[in-house]
Symmetry: C2
Subunit: 764 residues, 2 copies
């Protein structure tokens, strides 16, 4: 669930969604600046900043020294004097060029050629991935479609392994209720969730060709280009541009348009002028059925399918809380201009969990199992004070209130375990808390699991405590609620009455609530509002119904105020939002009282804690974290390796006859058969290629083990990263593979139990 809707605040923010937040983070310098309006903050004394200042001074020294030289020459000064002045000028120019290099390095973050290394590294990874068909640009023979990718055989196997492990780690271990809903979704559902109105990005058009661009991308590119390439800009200008980058996601259409005009940004391809920014809905629209009258969308997330089934799932769980539902499936976003390869795509696999919990009891029975974990966390405070992420013990974060509650903490811990077991480097994984302005007003707390890649820190999992928002939204359509009307917010009261104050007919009308049965009845004081319909009918005629509804929808404070006014003054002015005007209520028109009642249960809307996984992003980051290069044995080339753990590896082992020989091939087939029976994905390679080349080929696919058949009774098993080799009997090969690939034994265990094979003979 990736929409934040500002209900009460008058925030100008457009519909943000979690997976877009990473756009901001790549460039975030001083995120708190977003809190203090459009004026740039006072420039901070960063090293980049001081270099820019020195550079500006150096530049003016050069100019003044240049003037000096020209003046000396004009005055026909002595050669020695002129030469000395020229020498000084050259020295200044040399200083400047050194400073420019320093500035370039500071701008790029890590070392003088940091960004170049990142680019080169990414290129090496991506080349290997494409060449070995981990992924393929979709519909390539038709010149492809931006933002759509196929997973080829190894990529598909990796994805399938990641999803299997996700099911094991979350669904099975937590007894979650997995559901599988369609992608085609009718409009009413996405209207209620807010997507139809708010799931947009701002777009500009080339005024001549009509080509579309994302407005914030153009502004971002302009600022980055300026900061990184134009070394002559002042420190103040640089600070301003950085400030714009930091608040990119908070700019309204008008503000974005104004900045684009101010900076004179034109269409990148044609240099034509651009239109004003306007919102473009990111959902793929379609039509359900033959009439053309039922609009539908391809779901932009899987979560809504769970929310609309809450009632049935709660029943399935024996009407007990807490419980979690989960869904794995495709989601769709018609990105305006997809970039960053596999990270921003138009169709992707999401795995989402909705954990429903009583808002008054957010503890978790298995919390103690993760409380001792320690990993990089980046709480709000650290971000605001420009510190970096630091290692914090999860239990401490929860007990200090940094993480809002135990259940949220439990899921953060489980996500950490999930990602690191897949092979994500724990030093390049951090949990970043959302800033106050990133979260919707209804959210209790929100953390993103961010993984560092060559593109920067990428949000791969969002873990949010969304309170009761989503279940409310489907009971009373939030999109129909007046933002100016305070009564519209008390949706839970309305939910039970199956009616919607300000709304028309678009709502499910089904209360999505839970109950807590009391062990013995409790006496409670209840507000009773009894409109006197006869009197109201006489006074308001056709508007009577709306007035009655408005009276019944008053909250306690409103009702008691009215009661007091009626008792003292006899009349009161009362705003009816469905009429859009005040009406006069007299004492005889409504009776308001407090009555004591015995209640046997409490009815409430559960809170939902939502871990949402972008599977494709996790897999891409995993590729980067798993990739390394090492020299070939001869030392004449660099070989690519993916160090996937067996859990993830697309193929668990290869079987190679050392030489082309019928006997060895027969042994290889026998081993292959027993591997298949044990459910181990593997490949036989009987080509006559050298064994070293065959190893290199499979290292590049991340195959962790290779079985080389070099005798008819026993074989050599080689581990990919250490290149260590052991000898095992033919009939032991499959059982050994089984135990090391299903995690019952480590390679170290196996290494300790079998005779070692001296390398060399098989490697060449």
């Amino acid at each position: 669930m990736r929409i934040l809707i500002s209900l009460v605040s008058s925030s100008t923010s457009t519909g943000l969604h979690l997976l877009s937040v990473s756009r901001r983070l790549h460039t975030k310098i001083s995120p708190f600046s977003t809190l203090i309006g459009l004026k740039p903050p006072p420039a901070m004394a960063t090293s980049e900043d001081s270099i820019r200042r020195c550079l500006a001074e150096k530049q003016s020294s050069i100019e003044s020294q240049g003037n000096t030289v020209r003046a000396l020459k004009a005055a026909n000064a002595e050669k020695a004097t002129v030469d000395e002045a020229i020498e000084k000028l050259n020295a200044l120019k040399l200083d400047k060029s050194v400073m420019e290099k320093q500035l370039q390095a500071a701008v790029n973050g890590n070392g003088p050629d940091g960004s170049i290394n990142k680019e080169a590294f990414r290129q090496a990874v991506v080349n290997t991935l494409e060449r070995r068909l981990f992924y393929i640009p979709s519909f390539k023979i038709y010149r492809g479609v931006a933002g759509l990718y196929d997973y080829g055989p190894p990529g598909c196997a990796v994805k399938s392994n990641v999803l299997s492990f996700w099911r094991q780690h979350f669904v099975l271990e937590e007894n979650m209720l997995e559901v599988d809903c369609p992608c085609v979704t009718p409009e009413a559902v996405l209207k209620a969730s807010g997507h139809v109105d708010k799931f947009t990005d701002l777009m500009v058009k080339d005024e001549k060709t009509g080509t579309c661009y994302r407005a914030d991308h153009l502004l971002k590119d302009f600022c980055n280009e300026k900061i990184q390439k134009d070394l002559s800009i002042s420190a103040e200008k640089a600070a301003e541009l950085k400030h714009v980058l930091a608040m990119l996601d908070d700019l309204s259409a008008e503000e974005l348009g104004a900045k684009i005009k101010e900076y004179g940004i034109t269409a990148p391809d044609t240099k034509n002028p651009l239109s004003d920014p306007y919102p473009f809905n990111l959902m793929f629209q379609t039509s359900i059925g033959p009439s053309g009258l039922s609009p539908g969308y391809m779901r932009p997330e899987t979560a809504q399918g769970i929310f609309v089934n809450f009632k049935d799932l709660y029943y399935y769980n024996g009407n007990k809380l807490p419980f979690a539902a989960a869904q794995i499936g495709q989601a769709f976003r018609n990105e305006i201009s997809p970039r960053q390869g596999l990270l921003r795509v138009r169709e992707f696999t999401l795995a989402e969990i909705e954990h429903f919990v009583d808002p008054e009891y957010k503890s978790h029975p298995k919390y103690s199992e993760v409380a001792d974990l320690e990993f990089l966390m980046f709480p709000r405070e650290q971000q605001i004070s420009a510190q970096s992420a630091k290692k914090i013990q999860l239990g401490e974060a929860v007990s200090k209130g940094i993480v809002n509650n135990e259940t949220l903490g439990y899921f953060i811990g489980r996500v950490y375990l999930f990602l690191t077991r897949l092979g994500i480097d724990k030093d390049r994984l951090r949990f970043r808390q959302h800033l106050a302005n990133e979260m919707a007003h209804y959210a209790a707390d929100c953390w993103d699991a961010e993984i560092e890649s060559s593109y920067g820190w990428i949000e791969c999992v969002g873990i949010a405590d969304r309170s009761a928002y989503d279940l409310h939204a489907h009971t009373v359509s939030i999109s129909l609620i007046h933002t100016s009307c305070i009564r519209c917010e008390i949706v839970s009261v309305l939910a039970n009455k199956r009616q919607n104050m300000c709304g028309k007919e678009e709502k499910s009308g089904v209360p999505l609530v839970a109950h807590e049965k009391f062990s013995e009845p409790k006496e409670v004081e209840k507000l009773v509002i009894a409109p006197v319909k006869k009197e109201l009918g006489l006074a308001f005629k056709g508007n009577q119904k709306k007035v009655v509804e408005a009276l019944e929808a008053m909250n306690e404070k409103e009702a008691l105020d009215m009661k007091a006014s009626l008792e003292t003054k006899g009349v009161v002015e009362f705003y009816v939002c469905t009429l859009g005007e005040n009406v006069t209520i007299k004492k005889n028109m409504v009776s308001i009282s407090k009555e004591k009642k015995k209640e046997h249960q409490r009815t409430f809307t559960p809170s939902v804690i939502e871990p949402s996984f972008g599977i494709g992003r996790i897999i891409y980051c995993l590729y980067e974290h798993s990739f390394y290069m090492r020299p070939s044995k001869a030392g004449d080339e660099q070989l690519n390796v993916f160090r996937f753990p067996p859990l993830v590896a697309p193929i668990k082992c290869t079987v190679f006859p050392l030489v082309q020989n019928q006997q060895y091939e027969n042994v290889a087939k026998i081993i292959s058969k027993s591997l298949t029976a044990a459910g181990i994905s593997h490949k036989i390679d009987i080509t006559g290629t050298s064994i070293g080349k065959r190893y290199a080929r499979t290292d590049e696919l991340g195959v962790p083990f290779a079985i080389t058949v070099d005798s008819i009774s026993s074989v050599t098993i080689r581990e990919r990263d250490s290149k260590d080799q052991i000898r095992v009997d033919v009939e032991e090969a499959a059982p050994v593979m089984k135990s090391v690939t299903d995690g019952h034994r480590t390679w170290a265990d196996v290494w300790a139990s079998f005779p070692h094979h001296s390398s060399g003979s098989a490697e060449d």
Copy 2:
């Protein structure tokens, strides 16, 4: 791949697709009638037929006897005479009513209340499925959308188990290349595959309300209703209606419209007149990117994603044939009016295999592993001669040429093993061969795995040898090929030249071909067509290019005929399809010769053999085949059971403490933990409900085993169907469960190894 396109034949058939064929089969009586045009065939002497004739005779006897009685009465005949005549009349009426019952029984197929039983059985299954959330009508709280269903927790687990087994049985065992392509597909791809033009159903509209109906459904309903409910129609009329049913899928829009008019069929809901039938494309349309200028569709099948990647996959496989690629994923069809619950839906999961093979070598190395299998087959001959399916040994079917080739036979055998291992009843599974008129002209052979359900025989898997059609289609866009132009068919020649005879620019232009390297070069005689461009330019000016292309595209026979004509007569008339007219070719305009060349390899377009699985249909049939009812122990109610094999069961076992007791609950938790560690999905039920009720609850979910904790050292394990119980030590519970659920041991093995528990104590 479910489109049959009639390229050469002038068939009027609309775009058929495999999964729709089942529509016809439910009602098929004399399929061969479709071969002989619109006139009904001579009525056959079926039992139904003869009853109708007798009934008609009986009716006229009644009428004539009625006349006799009236005449006697009018003539004031003797009472005894009148009474005798009346008695005779009553006897005739009694006969008639017996006959009507017989006819009703014959119409319904199996027994006097066959269809009623089927309906009742289906209702019992569906009630259980919906109540236990195997499936849920999607977006129920928003009043749902026809043809969209969610899988709830047990349904989702069954689906996930079926797909895992599919991956194991096909992808892993056959080393297939699995891919994962997007659902959003650009128009060019589906234009080339033929879906944009031909993937349609015929629709009629209520002329007043605009409500849409499938034309063939209305006609089908009318005929069925008439045959089943109107016992007075003549045998000839019944035969005519059955004939219409049998050829429903072959009717053109005009023929369907004519029949609807002839029978006076009106809109079912309003009785308003209907529009003429017109084609409605079943693809969900959308737009890719923000411009609105790139139409796209939600894929109607997964196969195209494989075909467009053929070149990369062939390379990935070391440029070797045969190999198979596979894909599991969502497919979408915007059905006009979805019916039959889970069987005809608008979004569903397909699992498709494309096995690419050299058309000259269609043997299969593992064929012998399936050749001895014997199961129900329904070859074309049997269907035409109105026989029923019979048990045939697969090897015999292949050797006799009933099944076209070994590879096709191999997949038929593998599909049989897959379905029966899931729990499909082998006596309600048949492989039906497509009739000549059901297949596209390019298909070599095609068999459907049909499963009998309460809806009749349902096509669940299609296994087709589609020859080179699909790879051709993406090289040269078939939709652009003139159906009247013989030269347009020699696409493989053109493919290698990257040009398309009659087409415009819409084609991939990438040759999707394979090569066979010869062990030594072969000398071949090659036809060389060398147009003399200078002379052609002089003669045809601007049309020269089209004439050259047409000359180069001639096949061998055409070219040699031209050569002969030119040598004898000096000129020849030549039809150029791109010009749409004949031109005169003179001797000096083209040189045609045969030259000997050495060739090092053969280039060809591979054939594709395609098993395509409708996962949702298989699962629904599995539900019906697994469902049964048995009396409760007290005999006072019928309990529902799904007899899923452990492989499929959504939950493998439950853990019940016999009574609510902390010690037992602790033991249950210990067992639960070891089950989780072993990866066995299970559920603990610690409610105080009687153990019998708890068994009944889980039987209804198809849970095969229950572990009842009735002591702290050992437990009782109960098998669902036999209700047999054994006793095992606490620490053995998980390993025993592991071995029986992963198939390493059967319940019989376990039953033989552990002490039995006398039933009764735990059951209550």
